[in-house]
Symmetry: C2
Subunit: 209 residues, 2 copies
């Protein structure tokens, strides 16, 4: 019952290789049942002390989308100023968000004060609550990819402003803003590699102690 075949292990490796941060989406809608199926992976994620601190906002209204888009554009305009020369030139060509096209957009928060889990494991490392949310997002991302659905994680945002713009409880902190939809293309290489921004390492160095 519990073991996984070699074929599954190979396909799992393929899944990791084909997972991309997607920024170019088709605008056609995604069936709500598919989104719900991907979101169901949140409840299977590891969480510190079983605190399950993930909180999800479906950003759907034109007003909310506009606020998030403006937040991104303002933050991105500031970010560009930090580069010069070739980096500035490449940066200006990058597409860093699929917000204008992605049919599904999710703001994912961490409830920093949830009583669930009674603080187990989070006393000296409270950031593990946010890490639990990231683990859940990672599972969601991979599940989406098994169905062919693309996910893009936007972090070029002012998180405190976004929290206010979306009017969520004060004890929620933004972990990620996710654009979700059918990708324009199936890419095997990260866009940042193709654009010449950064290379991908194929070795992993480790230390020993």
């Amino acid at each position: 019952m519990t073991e996984f075949t070699q074929t599954f292990q190979q396909d799992f490796d393929k899944l990791l290789r084909l997972r991309r941060d997607v920024r170019r989406f088709r605008t056609d809608p995604v069936d709500g049942g598919i989104i719900d199926r991907c979101l169901a992976t949140f409840n299977l994620a590891p969480s510190v002390g079983l605190s399950e601190p993930w909180r999800i906002v479906k950003v759907q209204s034109a007003a909310a989308r506009q606020a998030v888009l403006e937040n991104f554009e303002t933050t991105n305009a500031e970010a560009i100023k930090g580069y010069s020369g070739e980096k500035a030139q490449i940066y200006s060509t990058l597409k860093l968000s699929g917000m204008r096209d992605a049919p599904v957009q999710l703001a994912v928060f961490c409830d920093e004060e949830t009583p669930k889990g009674a603080g187990l494991g989070a006393r000296t490392m409270p950031e593990t609550r946010r890490y639990s949310v990231v683990a859940a997002i990672t599972q969601f991302w991979l599940c989406a990819r098994t169905i062919g659905l693309g996910v893009g994680w936007v972090s070029i945002l002012d998180p405190d402003s976004l929290t206010k713009e979306l009017n969520v409880p004060e004890n929620w902190s933004l972990v990620a803003y996710l654009c979700v939809g059918w990708p324009e293309d199936v890419l095997t290489t990260p866009e940042l590699v193709t654009a010449g921004w950064e290379t991908r390492s194929d070795i992993l160095e480790t230390l020993e102690r």
Copy 2:
């Protein structure tokens, strides 16, 4: 080439359901090739700006293991004091670390100052570097489970002390301490549920904006 079968999708769901935070390990060694195969998933993880900020320390020497164990025991003894009544009673029965038995132990850090990625996406949310490390750990954890290997994430630690005890660079921050090995049992239910500490939600509430 890119699509995944329904059988794979179902097995992926089974993988998420069978992934556990493992605290009870057999002491027999794990072949280094298997660990390397699981560690290779780090290089496939998403990372902000392709910064790949994960740094891994294999904790192997008796001295290093003893230092980490003492760190855990001191931190755990402090944590127990935060509970009373039934919670204190349950807490005292919980096994919260496999450090005494797990044949492979990994301290996973984030390089907060890596030049890789040139800061892309991390200006307003520098915590996304640490989130990248968590995404990589999640992939490692799932990959390990496809092989039947257990992973347990210990967060009941003083992270600053651990960084010093393991003598890693100052700009590295501890994200996770992972115990890895063959699990004593294949569990379908989280130990914290079985022990009566916390329940698992089977619904996911979402807000709309």
